[in-house]
Amino acid sequence: MNMSKNREIPPLHPASTMDFLPPAQLRDVQFTRLKIMVQRAYDRVSLFRERMNERKLKPADLRSMDDIVKLPFTVKTDLRDTYPFGLCASPMSEIVRFHASSGTTGKPIVVAYTQEDLDDWTRAVLRSLAACGVHNGDIVQIAYGYGLFTGGLGLHYGAEALGASVIPISGGNTDRQIMLMKDFGVTVICCTPSYFLHLIDRAGEMGINMKELPLRIGVFGAEPWTEDMRERIEAGSDIKAYDIYGLSEIVGPGVAMECVHQAGPHIFEDLFFPEIIDPKTLEPLPDGEEGELVLTTLCKRAMPMIRYRTRDITSLEPTRCVCGRTLRRIRRIGRRSDDMLIIRGVNLFPSQIEAALLKVEGTLPHYQIIVDRQRDLDTLEVQVEVTADAFSDTVSAMEQMQKRLVHSIEGITGLRPAVKLVAPRTLQRSEGKAKRVIDKRIM
């Protein structure tokens, strides 16, 4: 088997032509679809109908795409309040699949799909994979969890539709992941970025150098990550790391995806219409300005989403990507508005801690933030897994590293944390997603 990396960029996949629609035509497609979707949601979902009636708005009042701002927002609690099927716009006889969030507390969030919805989703994932250079002939290892979580099955069908050879290994069982990656000559891996870092470390321990494997593309998502993390992944494995974006409420992975230029995920705008709003005033913001991403599904039948507030903080890039796609890009999402912690009055995002840790020599990507309150004072502890690279034999060197970590975090966040060094692989991970924050405060 040829074990070297093939860097050729394949010719454009036919399905990708939708990525290059002239803007005016794209607008037409979007508006035509919006009208049909809103009419359907109005007719079939009482929550949408009531909210539009409150605003004295009828589907026919939408005259252009700009009128989308007249529509009411949908939020996560709407899905909880209508659990399980309250937002369904299709009868059970047309629904062919459910997915649900892994919600650790209370009821999960349920999403439903008709066969056409699944076909649209498959095409969005196919276009995602094609955009970053995956093609027929690639061996794709899907290490996202299969099941209620949208990650595994979403990538699975898209990769199959592309004609790639799929290994549906699902999450976990790291040693077997590495064995198959090597033995099959896997060229594309799909998983969370933190899990891939773990795979690199583990492969090293098993005496396998990821740089020498044919693996060349990583499709990483399902958790916010930073540019520093991308650099570390690429340096540690000699692959290209691409950011795939998605959320179950909208469809799953494949809402947006980076092209080979790695310049932020392109939103598949013909399927999912993006807006950026000010999360406080809820007013729309122009392209280029940072705010909360709001998405409207233009084709979803079983469970249409109108102006869904994602809580993800980003901006829409005002410039066209060099790849020529007319699809707008979101800036990579490093944080979510509901990820924000307020500690001693200071706003803190987990991505800031990650950036601070990666700045320190002997980089340490696995961490957990523990916030507590002792005698009315917030405490911030950052637990960091010691890697073989970062470990040094003397107590003084370890304590110096600990100090450098404290300083780095304090420099970036303005908060002085307690840094605790813990043994490799002791921090919790769920479904391959790193659990970054434990907030023990009772508010």
Binding site: E205, M206, G207, V386, T387, A388, A390, F391, S392, D393, T394, V395, S396, M398, E399, K420, L421, V422, A423, P424, R425, T426
Partner: protein
């Protein structure tokens, strides 16, 4: 002559020391000597074993953060001033003793064996050689511990 030593990162909590020791025991790897450095939160277990590479692979495979470092084993006269004589030899050379610990087991009568980690092992070896202070290599060490 330098001796290879394994250092293992441990959390300072009950049970963390037994895990690596059990692994080595199961694989039939004998610990020739060890020492434990500890802080309030973490510890560093330092080990000298016969097959360093095998032990390293085993520990790494089981998820431990492991480093191989080089230490120097010195024969020290088991009498007042034995250790001082060695430290005197290093006086003024700028070579720092990072840490030291003694070897368990029987050694040549009238002598103790101490393991040193110097800031600059090669420079230390040079100085010790000039002062005719005996260093003990891995093979010799194994022989003495068994004999």
């Amino acid at each position: 002559m330098k001796i290879k030593q394994l250092s293992v990162f441990l959390e300072n909590k009950p049970g963390s020391l037994s895990a690596p020791c059990r692994l080595l025991a199961k694989a039939g790897i004998n610990i020739q000597t060890c020492s434990l450095a500890d802080t309030r939160e973490f510890g560093i277990l330092r080990l000298v074993v016969e097959d360093t590479d095998k032990a390293k692979r085993l520990l790494q495979r089981n998820g431990f953060a492991v480093k191989v470092t080089e230490v120097i084993a010195l024969e020290v006269a088991d009498q007042p001033g034995g250790l001082a004589a060695i430290l005197d030899a290093l006086e003024g050379t700028g070579i720092n003793v990072e840490y030291a610990y003694s070897l368990t087991g029987r050694t040549k009568s009238g002598h103790a064996l101490l393991l040193f980690r110097f800031s600059d092992p090669n420079a230390a070896l040079q100085v010790l050689k000039e002062r005719n202070i005996n260093t003990v290599g891995s093979e010799e060490l194994t022989k003495r511990l068994k004999g």
